[in-house]
């Protein structure tokens, strides 16, 4: 069974989590300023190069990677704390993408990726196959793919590394001002990676937890702004936050945030202690579904509570909704996780 952690370990980890949270301020201004995020939208290749250099300087892409592979080998508790902070400020950097896939990369790619000299981004494609010469066929989608030097393309049980040089895809604009690169591969050279299906599944599951943590940050960012607004906006001679109907709504959203936080932190802690794969997956799916539902709800209601100003591009509150729409469709969809969770608990019941 799970051993409780030693107090010393625990204190040390708490401190590390606090430090990581504080260090996120390098990317996410503590005062909630979203000018950098605005400037990033609908411009360039999807990567703020300066910000990404900073991310790599801080060693974040290697956070989860074993020390002997050049990473810092930190646990999920630390990892989710960092992603939550980045979510609060809507940092558009593909950290969860890179940090999750870096363990799959061969050394000649891994090292430059960790140093920020090269960027590899993951893509998913259901029908990917390699022909007898090892060339890749099928379709895949890579979030922010235009910015990458290489694409790590996965199906359920295999992963390939494709050098992006000379290849083109169709960039589809996304709501947050980024893009998804749609690739039609008709026999492109690809390096098949020596990853087991279990390894790939773990990468995907941890990434899903990362998404949940990021969404937890997004909802808190949207909530905090709304709370502030309700204290200053006046109608009928009073702050609108004094109306009970709105107070109750805010309380309900607060509860949703705390439910999401409880699951994110509990799941991360459980996985750090290592649990059976089935249980790990069930916990992750539950966390991802809760965070996805709550993030959409908080952002939608935040706009409602702002009134018409919330329905403008000029007000920052809308940026949260737009980002949540995109973040919640990375590494699997809300519907996919909802059904996956239902399947897992049915299997558990069946197996007694």
């Amino acid at each position: 069974m799970n051993e409780p952690m030693h107090d010393v370990d625990l204190a040390e980890r708490r401190e590390r989590v606090t430090m990581l949270r504080d260090s996120a301020a390098a990317l996410v201004p503590a005062d909630g300023d979203l000018r950098r995020v605005r400037a990033w939208r609908f411009a360039g290749n999807g990567l703020d190069a300066q910000a990404w250099a900073l991310v790599c300087e801080m060693g974040w892409p290697g956070l989860r990677l074993a020390e002997e592979q050049g990473g810092s080998g930190l646990g999920l508790c630390e990892y989710v704390a960092l992603l939550e902070e980045l979510g609060k400020g809507l940092a558009p950097e593909p950290l969860n993408e890179v940090a999750c896939l870096v363990s799959l990369l061969p050394a000649e790619w891994r090292e430059p990726v960790l140093r920020g000299e090269r960027l590899v981004l993951p893509g998913h494609g259901a029908g990917l196959v390699a022909d007898h010469q090892g060339r890749l066929l099928g379709q895949a989608k890579v979030s922010l793919g235009k910015a990458a030097h290489g694409w790590l393309l996965m199906n359920e049980d295999s992963a390939w590394l494709v050098d992006a040089q000379g290849l083109e895809g169709q960039a589809l604009a996304t709501q947050d001002g980024g893009h998804v690169l749609a690739l039609a591969l008709n026999g492109v050279p690809a390096q098949r990676l020596a990853s087991s299906p279990e390894q790939l599944r773990r990468v995907r599951d941890e990434a899903a937890l990362g998404v949940a943590a990021y969404l937890l940050g997004c909802m808190q960012g949207a909530f905090a702004r709304t709370l502030d607004y309700l204290k200053v906006r006046k109608q009928f001679g009073r702050e609108i936050g004094s109306f009970q109907a709105l107070q109750h709504r805010m309380v309900d959203l607060h509860i949703q945030i705390e439910l999401s936080r409880a699951l994110v932190e509990e799941t991360a802690a459980c996985l750090d202690r290592s649990v059976a794969p089935g249980e790990a997956q069930r916990r992750i799916y539950a966390t991802r579904v809760q965070a996805g539902d709550a993030a959409l709800r908080v952002c939608r209601e935040a706009i409602q509570l702002h009134g018409a100003i919330g329905y403008t591009d000029e007000a920052d509150i809308g940026l949260f909704l737009r980002r949540v729409l995109v973040a919640a469709s990375a590494w699997g969809t809300q519907g996919g996780y909802r059904q996956g969770y239902a399947r897992l608990i049915a299997e558990e019941a069946f197996n007694g």
Binding site: K141, L172, A173, T174, Q175, D176, V180, K234, Q235, F236, G237, I240, F243, A245, L246, L296, R300, I303, Q304, G307, A308, G310, Y311, T312, D313, E314, G318, L321, L325, V326, A328, S329, T333, Q334, G335, G336, R338, Q339, A342
Partner: protein, 388 residues
């Protein structure tokens, strides 16, 4: 000309089926194919030709009496009219003159105002926008401060309106202005008609969350407005506007947005090949059931209208239920869209599907026309009689 049509075509004596058939055939023949199911609300230039065509046919104003050039339809036939337009994917017209100002003038305007403005709305000469809200007067509309000062032979208007839908595509604005600062807030407001081309008026578009400049800010600096542009009595603007809001709420409570969204949801599910999946079917059925119930409620109000009854504050139920159902349908569509829910533009496979866009467009329906919170307050106090 419209009167002649009315003589030829006594819509009220037609059976519902015959009336529906008449509309359908004409729409299918005449509606410009490229304007079906537009992604966003059409601007003036895009819809002008269609607007004119409808005007020539005498079909612009289903609810206006025939003597003013309308179709004189009962509520039931108006519903059919709306349904047929919706079925074909016809775009919403720049319709504030038709659905808001027209009915108000018909009820409260002077004979001279009716004779001047109504034909110009039908001719596609005047396009109107609604200038009520101000930066500090949203839900608390009665606190509005844009002021019209009596200068003997004209009004002098100063102030600012905001969220004025289609202001950039209109040439006139009907607005609420303060004409008495001393009176109780509601008692010092008048209803004024102002050409947007007047010196001192400035329209500044605002980009909305759908990245479209559908609404604007409108600034007024020492704008001279002729005395005769005031509708009704001075300081009676509030009650007139309120009468109009009731009408707007039936309009906003019609099942059409939800019906449209449900159709899109079904199309999306077919595209994704999940329409037979049990989990989807159950959630779809639950929404369809809510739509059935909404239609039944809407029908009751329509019937009351048919019987010539006035609609009371309970009409707010329709607006609340419709807008929240619309959003719920759009939310399921987001989930059904999966990865495509992230996309900015319509789907490559079917340009009529833009799940995130439709979801975003559903959000303001619980804000405009009196927010749903305000509607609930009205129902709680005025219908349930709960203490204020």
């Amino acid at each position: 000309m419209s009167d002649m049509n009315a003589l030829h075509e006594d819509y009220e004596s037609m059976s519902d089926e015959a009336f529906r058939g008449l509309l359908r055939e004409w729409i299918e023949t005449h509606y410009p194919a490229h304007l079906r199911n537009p992604r966003r609300r059409l601007g003036l230039e895009e819809s002008r030709a269609w607007y004119r065509l409808l005007g020539e046919r005498g079909w612009l104003a289903p609810g206006w009496p025939t003597r003013h050039g309308g179709m004189g339809l009962s509520a039931a036939k108006q519903l059919i009219y709306m349904e047929e337009w919706e079925r074909h994917g016809c775009a919403r017209l720049p319709d504030s003159g038709l659905t808001m100002l027209g009915p108000l003038l018909i009820r409260f305007g002077s004979e001279a105002q009716k004779a001047f403005y109504l034909p110009r709305i039908l001719a596609g000469e005047h396009f109107w926008c609604q200038g009520y809200s101000e930066p500090n007067a949203g839900s608390d509309l009665a606190s509005l401060r844009t002021e019209a000062v009596d200068c003997g032979d004209h009004w002098r208007v100063n102030g600012q309106k905001i969220w004025t839908t289609m202001a950039g595509h209109s040439n006139w604005i009907f607005m609420l202005v303060r004409t008495d600062r001393q009176a109780r807030p509601q008692a010092g407001i008048s209803f004024l008609l102002v050409p947007l081309a007047s010196p001192g008026v400035e329209v500044r578009p605002i980009l909305n969350l759908d990245l479209h400049d559908e609404f604007s800010e409108v600034f007024f600096t020492d704008v001279r407005v002729p005395k005769e542009n005031l509708v009704g009595e001075v300081n009676q603007g509030w009650s007139m506007a309120k009468a109009l809001l009731g009408f707007e709420r039936i309009f906003l409570g019609s099942p059409k947005q939800s019906t449209h969204a449900l159709e899109r949801l079904e199309r999306l599910a077919r595209l994704g090949g999940i329409e037979h999946q049990e989990a989807y079917r159950q959630r779809h059925a639950a929404l369809r059931l809510r739509l059935d119930a909404h239609r039944a409620l809407y029908e009751r109000f329509a019937e009351a209208l048919r019987q010539g009854q006035a609609l009371g504050p309970e009409v707010s139920m329709l607006k609340i239920n419709q807008s929240e159902l619309f959003q719920a349908i759009c939310e399921l569509a987001l989930e059904v869209a999966g990865e495509d829910a992230a996309l900015l533009d319509p789907l490559a496979e079917d340009a009529a599907l833009y799940p995130a866009g439709l979801f975003i467009q559903s959000l303001p329906t619980t804000i405009y026309g009196g927010s749903n919170e305000i509607q609930r307050n009205i129902l709680a106090r005025q219908v349930l009689g709960l203490p204020g």
